[in-house]
Symmetry: C2
DNA sequence: CATTTATATTCCGATATGAGCATATACGCA
DNA sequence: TGCGTATATGCTCATATCGGAATATAAATG
């Protein structure tokens, strides 16, 4: 699931599907990506139930399936809740930052 | 960023850090993972600013940095908002499901 | 039934990524 | 200054993954 969203192309597909159902061909046009690629990415997204599709003749209408995002949203919610619970003394936390975070992401040493 | 959370080991690290600051050694013990691996994963998480660290003598105290998760949360929020905006006629959507979604993720054809 | 259109699948090569090991750096301490 | 501990980095290998081309399947159409 997380892995499925780890790919930019697949997020592009989801973004495109955000504006409603679309066929594989539509996505190919919008993303400028090859048809097999789109089908494969849709396969991955479908495997984790984040998109679903219905048949319309020889076409497949894909759409986002929001409940499929639940694992992600619940994990995120739990993580941030945990963090907030443990850093509820915000002032201490901030003070801590002031003291030693003057080079946030640098590989010091 | 999404890629950083695409790895289970890194989510384990974040989960562990959810209960407060921890040193690299702590994480090695808790995750049963090698020290270099933990350091590398922490490097990835730090690169996308989802964790930060402060020095304490020769140890490094790591913690989750919630603002770093913003790209993810905003993307998620926007996607679901878009989807909801376009599928606001929920009844139609459901009816649609009833009609053709009897085999959700199967590779039909 | 043959053909065309829409989508899925397979195969292959290039590239990225994670694990393991060795090693480097940095700090504290005697 | 020399040693031990804590953490980071570099290297190599195995594997996963993406992209591309060809092909298979399925449905509509004549």
């Amino acid at each position: 699931m997380f892995n499925a969203l780890g790919d930019a192309r697949r997020r592009d597909i989801l973004d495109a599907l955000g504006s409603g159902e679309a066929t594989v061909g539509d996505l190919v046009d919008r993303l400028g990506c090859s048809q097999p690629q789109v089908s494969k990415h849709l396969g991955v997204l479908r495997a984790v139930d984040v998109v679903r599709c219905r048949a319309d003749g020889r076409r497949r209408l894909y759409r986002v399936h929001p409940p499929g995002l639940a694992p992600l949203t619940t994990w995120l919610a739990r993580l941030t809740a945990d963090v907030n619970a443990h850093y509820d003394r915000l002032d201490d936390y901030i003070a801590e930052l002031e003291r030693s975070d003057h080079r946030p992401t640098e590989g010091d040493h």
